[in-house]
């Protein structure tokens, strides 16, 4: 199984350890993983700001980098959702379609494609999951609280395989953290307030380590946590699943 590793721009630049953990995790499960060196960004920052028409070159680059793989996997639900919903290339639409239909967020790839039922990870901490909206409501990696349907959560299923780990139950299970791409600066006041409220829910319920499948939300929450000097550590779920 040839897997193309897509490490979003901000993870590449600010959180290399998340990329490393993702890579090692996939390799532990026997995937043949490659990281195309010429990748940059999925184009979502432009598209969500109303400039989808400026994403053509990013799209072309993405198709060039990833069309040869059986699967494309990324530690970011939001970027994956953007590719799934919006990646097109009028000259190579067939390859773009292959990319759109074979890209996976890490936890859904582990549960749905690799069908992981066991992990060897050990992480003796109280862990609170930030359920990111695009992963949850867009990719359906977990049931959303609005729907009258049985609950499930792919990230939590995986975290429950980690020995020593205790999952924290939150008051509001799936409220948005307020990151929202360029929203976090365009609507700074509301964005920060939402971040504070999300973090407070974790503090109140005893989270030691805050985790999730979307580093962008975690980057925003980490910014709030560090400014307010709260005793919570932020780690991407790949780092926890890869912990020994």
């Amino acid at each position: 199984m040839k897997v193309g590793l897509f490490i979003p721009c901000y993870v590449d630049q600010f959180y290399p350890q998340v990329g490393i953990a993702t890579l090692q995790l996939l390799e532990r499960f026997g995937c043949q993983v490659s990281y195309p060196a010429k990748q940059t960004c999925c184009g979502q920052p432009m598209a969500n700001s109303g400039y989808e028409h400026l994403t053509h070159d990013c799209n072309r680059l993405f198709v060039n980098n990833f069309s040869e793989f059986d699967y494309i996997v990324s530690p970011s639900g939001s970027c994956v959702l953007h590719i799934k919903d919006h990646l097109h290339d009028d000259k190579r639409e067939g390859e773009a379609t292959h990319v759109r239909t074979h890209i996976y967020e890490l936890t859904e790839f582990l549960t749905d494609i690799l069908k992981v039922e066991n992990l060897t990870a050990h992480f003796p901490h109280r862990v609170g999951v930030h359920q990111s909206c695009h992963g949850q409501r867009g990719l359906h990696v977990a049931q959303m609280s609005e729907l009258v349907a049985p609950p499930f959560s792919k990230p939590e299923k995986l975290l429950n395989m980690v020995t020593g780990l205790e999952l924290v139950k939150l008051d509001r299970v799936d409220e948005c953290c307020g990151f929202g791409g360029t929203f976090c600066v365009a609507e700074e006041a509301v964005s920060v307030r939402m971040g504070i409220d999300r973090v407070d829910d974790h503090v109140k319920n005893g989270t030691e380590v805050l985790t999730g499948g979307d580093m962008s939300c975690l980057m925003h929450l980490e910014g709030v946590i560090r400014r307010r000097q709260l005793p919570i550590k932020v780690m991407h779920i790949a780092e926890i699943l890869n912990a020994k």
Binding site: I7, C9, Y10, V11, D12, F14, Y15, P16, Q17, V18, G19, I20, S34, Y35, A37, K38, T40, C41, G43, P45, M46, S49, G50, Y51, E52, L54, T55, D57, C58, R60, C133, H134, R137, G138, M144, E146, V148, A149, R172, D174, C176, G178, F179, F183, C184, V185, A186, E187, E188, A189, V190, V192, R193, M194, G195, D197, M219, G223, R226, R227
Partner: protein, 454 residues
């Protein structure tokens, strides 16, 4: 004031923002309990959505059918192309009756058409009879929520307002006493006003009747006591058959307030003897929206307000920050249709979290339409030039791997060695959040070093 500025102002009072958020979240939780008590809830949503889909595909026929049947029932039917025509029609009915005082129960359409200021300017006194609407009317401000118009007011503040306008004892904030005062005041209006205006929740094409839902019975009080009943409805409120009411009435209040059913769902079929009944069918941009395929679904809205209660942005910015009669996520997709220049900011007042679409009882893809509006507004030149410029730069950098890697390296170097470049007051991220700590090497650099060129 645009949404971001108004929301920032709202957020200055931290505790009040907490209170606003918690109050509306409490309503969202009530909605959840009411929805989860119905095993076939998702099927109901789908059914409602499909009925509305049918309505929107055959809107002209259903409206003509409704008009024919309503006229047969003795109701006078008026057609208004826009807000101004709607207001003129109402004024002309009042003039023909020689009436200068009226009662009005809650109607978001009349808010959308700015009927109250229009009538006031033309010498008509309008008394809103919904308690929440009455409160904001006394305070001389618009409603902040379509179902809970004064949800942003605390009972102590209402006490002060009622002391000033209704003569309640100073310092009285007891909801029972305040409600009694409002009731006594409104009773006199109900008994003396000869014309009552109501909204319309559902109009049935098959029978020519319409349904008005209130929790206070105020629409009934107005309509039953008045000589003339004028009902105002947006043309999208039509449903084909009476049997469809069962679907919508089950969904409406559960979604709105978590109640199993509205306290009063009043069916108006024909005028009683000696009474006049008018209905004004208003377009006001709805056929334009019907013609915009990607936004057509927004006309399915039954005005339950569930998207507002669930919206984490609405809960922390308040209804007035949306500067439109209909606030929140649904308002943000309806408002640009009415005025793209004035409302270009609203589709950006969202994180696109998608909660609104999943809570919506008629399954409007609200967050997808917000995304689509962003594209439309940008393409039609409703974006600030500076933003367009920065997006072009961003696009150029991100579509060129060499430039991207170099920019990343320079950026991280600057953040590590000259943090003041980013950690300053010009950076909205840094205002209340720390910047990420730049690592020595990017993942790409680590990979090249540790895994070689593959």
């Amino acid at each position: 004031m645009n949404h971001a500025d108004a929301a920032e102002k709202f957020n200055k009072d931290f505790d009040r923002t907490t209170w606003h958020d918690e109050t509306l979240w409490w309503v969202r939780q009530k909605r959840d309990r009411a929805a989860f008590a119905i095993p076939e809830w998702e099927q109901l949503r789908e059914t409602a959505s499909q009925i509305k889909h049918n309505v929107l595909s055959n809107l002209d026929n259903y409206l003509i059918e409704f008009e024919k049947n309503a006229q047969k029932n003795g109701i006078t039917v008026h057609w208004a192309a826009d807000a101004h025509e709607h207001n003129q029609i109402i004024l002309s009915i009042l003039k023909s009756q020689g009436v200068t005082e009226i009662v009005k129960s809650k109607s978001m359409l009349t808010e959308e058409c700015h009927l109250n200021p229009y009538l006031t300017e033309n010498g008509v006194e309008v008394i809103d009879t919904d308690l929440g609407e009455r409160i904001v009317q006394l305070a001389d401000e618009p409603p902040s929520h379509i179902v809970l118009p004064c949800i942003h007011w605390k009972k102590e503040e209402i006490g002060v307002l009622f002391h000033k306008h209704l003569g309640t004892p100073e310092g009285c904030a007891d909801p029972v006493l305040l409600t009694h005062a409002a009731r006594a005041n409104l009773r006199e209006k109900f008994l003396t006003r000869r014309v009552a205006i109501t909204g319309v929740n559902f109009a049935v094409a098959e029978t020519g009747e319409f349904v008005v839902c209130t929790n206070e019975g105020n629409a009934d009080m107005g309509a039953h006591l008045a000589d003339v009943h004028i009902a105002c409805m947006g043309i999208e409120k039509i449903i084909p058959k009476r049997e469809h009411l069962g679907v919508f009435l089950r969904l409406l209040t559960r979604s709105a307030t978590g109640q199993p059913i509205t306290t009063y769902s009043s069916h108006f079929g024909k005028p009683r003897e000696g009474q006049q009944m008018h209905i004004v069918l208003v377009d006001n941009g709805r056929t334009v929206q019907l013609g915009r395929e990607q936004f057509r679904n927004s006309l399915k809205c039954i005005r339950c307000g569930a998207c507002m209660n669930t919206c984490p942005v609405y809960r922390r910015s308040g209804g007035h920050s949306y500067h439109n009669a209909v606030a929140g996520p649904i308002g943000a997709i309806l408002a640009p249709n009415l005025d793209m220049t004035k409302n270009a900011d609203l589709p950006f007042a969202s994180t696109l979290c998608g909660s609104c679409s999943n809570v919506c009882p008629v399954k409007i893809n609200i967050h997808e339409q917000l995304y689509e509006w962003r594209q439309e507004l940008t393409k039609s030149g409703h974006s600030p030039t500076a933003k367009t410029l920065s997006m072009k730069v961003m696009s150029a950098v991100l579509s060129n791997p060499t430039v991207y890697h170099l920019s990343g390296k320079i950026g991280r170097f600057a953040m590590a060695n000259a943090p003041f470049v980013v950690n300053n007051s010009f950076n909205p991220w840094f205002k209340q959040r720390e910047m990420p700590e730049p690592p020595k090497e990017s993942f790409g650099e680590w990979y090249k070093k540790n895994r070689g060129e593959k």
